[in-house]
Amino acid sequence: MSLKSIARAWNEFFLEPISPVPIALFRILYAGIVLLDIALLRPDWLIWFGPRGLITLPTMEQMETGARLDVFRFLPQTEFWTNAVFWMLLVSALFLLVGLYTRAASIATFILVASLHQRNLYIVHSGDTMLRVTGFFLMFAPAGAALSLDRLRNIWRGREGVTPVLRAPWAQRIIQVEMCLLYFMTFWSKSMGASWVNGTAVYYVERLEQFRRFPMPDFLRSLPMAKLETWFTLAVEFSLGTLVWIKELRYWILLAGLLLHLGLEYSMNVPMFQWIALALYVTFIDAADLARAWSWVRRAVNARPVAFAPASARAAEVLQAADVFGRLRLADGAPTVESAASVAKAVLRLWMPSGGVDSRGMMSAAAPSRSR
């Protein structure tokens, strides 16, 4: 090993362009989780973040000292502005979800998510921390380079072709590293605890009534099963923190992680934590495998085709790029797509569950579902 080979390996890992599809899919999941998270917080929004809530801003500043990226510190301490933060975050997360002005949306979403956490750190769990930290690195990622309205707009303006451009993955790599840190550091901390080593840790956790969610069968709560569950957790966390980088093992380890988190989602009441952890897994999935999986889903769903007659190459390219469900049919006699408005309408048509063409592929795109 030489310095040159280390530099080459570093460059290959962090800078060699790869498909932006996995990070774009992570962007969509991330934004969806932020939206669900604030929906869960909304009924008690003013209690957690308001000026007459359970923790006032001066108390927070007294307990958590130092400069913080927190818009609440700059806004008037009123209920109006506390609610305004909710609506601003809702809009920015929606823009991030659909990939419109993606970079600006990711910056706004991160700043607002970080502000919520800094405003009240005493309701934040590890999943929230991961949401905040990965949100920081998502700002630097090419998250709008695929599966986004930005991309369709770029194609329409002639700045991009139908196939997404490969991009340097350094921001995605740090997000992957963050996922490994989450698991490996947890494993490391647990390995210092007697109950994780002797196998009784899960026995205690299962008996904490405040964490209980759905009822667990008695045999799963028995001591021998609790021991197996304890060691299974340690093994999976160690693997997700380290062995997941080995290509041949990766999907098996992600599958074990999926089982672990689904089990935790069923048995433990820690809202959104499991989904945040699972969303990170898509950054480890190869773009070609994602495409294969999606093709399989499309074939299984077998969505009704929709016919259009694009009047220009760019209109055709936008439709092709937007055709995620494989519904697009190009046919003479179908509705002509030419202007930006008609392209937008056609794209919406492609994404709508109803409508389509008959078996000859000639029915109007505007045809209602009675053509079934």
Binding site: L54, F136, L166, W170, S195, W196, S312
Partner: protein
């Protein structure tokens, strides 16, 4: 300038798996900037997250503390570690009204809520069970007492005193045949607050 209209071939499902055609290479300056950014942040997040407090690590953390706190990149991954808590616990308040009447007020307890409600209200567990009840979080107590005073005040009667009470029961080690047991519930009043007239506004 607009491209000439042309009709591309109909796309097929397999086309989505085709290799991406073009790469967007980074300029030399961008590669250097990205490398410095990545190296610094890997160093920072690993130093912050590692569960060791050696003098060197503590000093490194101190050096990057301002940046980590400001950006929100601070992180600690120790869920149920090194050992999970063995305490079932909750926090309640004893409210004394002006007319001498007393009442008990409790933060939402997850074990008493339905499946949907407990998903919405879990933050109360995090706040009360993991933070408010701890002596190290004493700075939270006055705000909590004032909030409870406002929550229980009625037009006809106002609270004059709020006592915050923590309740706990320990999950005991499994019996010889794996049977469950836990200690009896214990309670302790950890904070007393005299409500001021201005608190209720």
């Amino acid at each position: 300038m607009r491209k000439k209209p042309q009709r591309p071939a109909e796309p097929r499902a397999e086309e989505t798996t085709q290799p991406h055609a073009v790469a967007a290479p980074l300029s030399r300056r961008a590669r250097i900037a990205a490398t410095i950014f990545v190296a610094f942040h890997l160093f920072a997040v690993i130093t912050w997250a590692v569960p060791l407090d050696t003098p060197l690590i503590v000093q490194c953390r101190e050096a990057i503390k301002g940046y980590m706190l400001w950006t929100g990149l601070f992180q600690k991954w120790d869920m149920f570690a090194p050992d999970p808590s063995k305490l079932n616990n909750y926090v309640s308040a004893n409210v004394v009204y002006r007319d001498g009447r007393t009442a008990e007020w409790t933060f939402p307890r997850m074990e008493n809520l339905g499946y949907v409600d407990k998903y919405f209200k879990e933050r109360y567990r995090k706040y009360a069970s993991d933070n408010l009840r701890l002596d190290t979080r004493a700075a939270l107590w006055p705000d909590a007492a004032r909030y409870i005073a406002r929550a229980v005040a009625t037009p006809s009667d106002a609270p004059v005193e709020i006592d915050l009470v923590r309740h706990w029961s320990e999950v005991l080690p499994p019996g010889p045949h794996g049977e469950d047991s836990s200690s009896p519930w214990t309670e302790f009043t950890f904070y007393r607050y005299s409500v001021q007239p201005g608190d209720l506004r």
